[in-house]
Symmetry: C2
Subunit: 321 residues, 2 copies
Amino acid sequence: VTSPAVAAADWGTSSFRLWLLDAAGTVLAERRSGDGMLTAGAEGFGPILERQLAAAGAAAELPVIVCGMAGARQGWIEAPYVTLPAGLDGILAGAVPVPGQSRTIRILPGLAQRSADAPDVMRGEETQLAGILPLFTSGRHLICMPGTHSKWVEAADGVISGFRTWLTGELFSVLSKQSILRHSLGENAAPALPDNAVFRAACADALTQGGDVGPSLFRIRAATLLNDLKPDEAAATLSGLLIGAEIASARRVFDAAADKVILVASGPLGSLYAAALKLAGCAVLQADADEAVRAGLFEAAKRLGWVGADSTGSQSESTTP
Amino acid sequence: VTSPAVAAADWGTSSFRLWLLDAAGTVLAERRSGDGMLTAGAEGFGPILERQLAAAGAAAELPVIVCGMAGARQGWIEAPYVTLPAGLDGILAGAVPVPGQSRTIRILPGLAQRSADAPDVMRGEETQLAGILPLFTSGRHLICMPGTHSKWVEAADGVISGFRTWLTGELFSVLSKQSILRHSLGENAAPALPDNAVFRAACADALTQGGDVGPSLFRIRAATLLNDLKPDEAAATLSGLLIGAEIASARRVFDAAADKVILVASGPLGSLYAAALKLAGCAVLQADADEAVRAGLFEAAKRLGWVGADSTGSQSESTTP
């Protein structure tokens, strides 16, 4: 039985995930909770982390590598955005130690695209990228990371060169819950499945519109009134339209690289995007998002010298910057 | 001093407006309240209407012509959608009398576009159209009716031949209040003015994207974080992006008719759309939306024989269907 070499935490806006990893990166323990940045303010980031580490059985001196919103300005300790272009080394150089803790803790920074016409930021996704970029060290690649705020990322020779954000997940949420379309979807519409014909038709329709979903959204409401569209069909239509529009839009923005897409996603959302990308005529390579963020955190720990052949153990790292 | 010949009511989802008009269509009295369809359920449509008529000083026998959500299925009396193509006569033929009232009351129907690929409905806007179509009896015209749910309507030789709905106003509302962008706009962002440079730049940018606003929305959040974008600028950007995207999208959908647009709108929103349409290179003719709906209601009353040369007064009309 191996023992934990490092703890890795993905600390998002509304979720917290922690893994204890051995020196080979194998998961020895996992904790998940809703103690995201939004709720961590009350209890404090440090106490939450120590409580979760104790529950996972971590030793007092185990070092912790963290990514996500814990590094935002309104988070624990700000890890300022690293400006593009950036590779793994650039991300690591921006990692910020958390002072005043009984153990070594570093928070990875987010990435910023500082351009006048397309300013953009990410925080958390850069660590997923750090987990998959070692697999794609040469050539130009387009990476799709779907979610509340979907990121499409261009990488060239292992360096992140540009990215853009689509609000797809958030649009689905506010349109289905807050807009006139809520009457069509109801409160218990089932999420679409990738082989759902309504989802696929809506997706195919949006793909032909170059990302412009404007004239299609109200169709859902009209079809409820005129054609008795069912709530599940309304949800599948909205999902297909928004995902199809995102893909068409991203293919327009990243035209030269858009025939082959590396999809970083987990679960049902990953299956929906994989189906939609194939409808769009893209060749899809899929990486699991959970595994990617864990791999990125572990890669960071390795490069920090916390684990691996040249590591002298967690004590080698000081909490002083 | 002339006396009221007809009462005209525009009964929307969340608002109620009533005018007493003389035989020439001149406004003699006006009432506005928040007693829209959503709140009318409690007090009842009939009591609200009688209360407002009494407050306006209407005689007991004055007939009332109504348009809007009062005719929806969940309204007062359903006035089923009239299917396109439809002119004024078609709309009037669908007017439904309200039974069991002490006076003559008719509710105008909405319009439905029953097509498989673009089902759509309107309720209320058809009466604004009825008010302006007599000015455009020949030729093909494109009419823009901005609002919570913007309608773009194609009319040929005085007949409404097609329309599409954009959720622009609702998107602005849910994105500015419910999405991540609320942090950028804050709670008191001032609405954009038509000569605002930020509004115009965002609008021009969206116009070049063919209606695809997907890759641009998160830019607002990023510019707040990276460039200290101010709340008023964020609001102007969101407004410009959404209005520009709607116009680009509508020009794509209605390509052949899109160089000249009849804008039916009131107040600040009308000014914003007029500026945006001119940025898009459109020649703009503007009609006031309030005057248009009143003119449409009056035109309906005339054709029903309630007012005008061949009218024998309101008593000529029975409440029996």
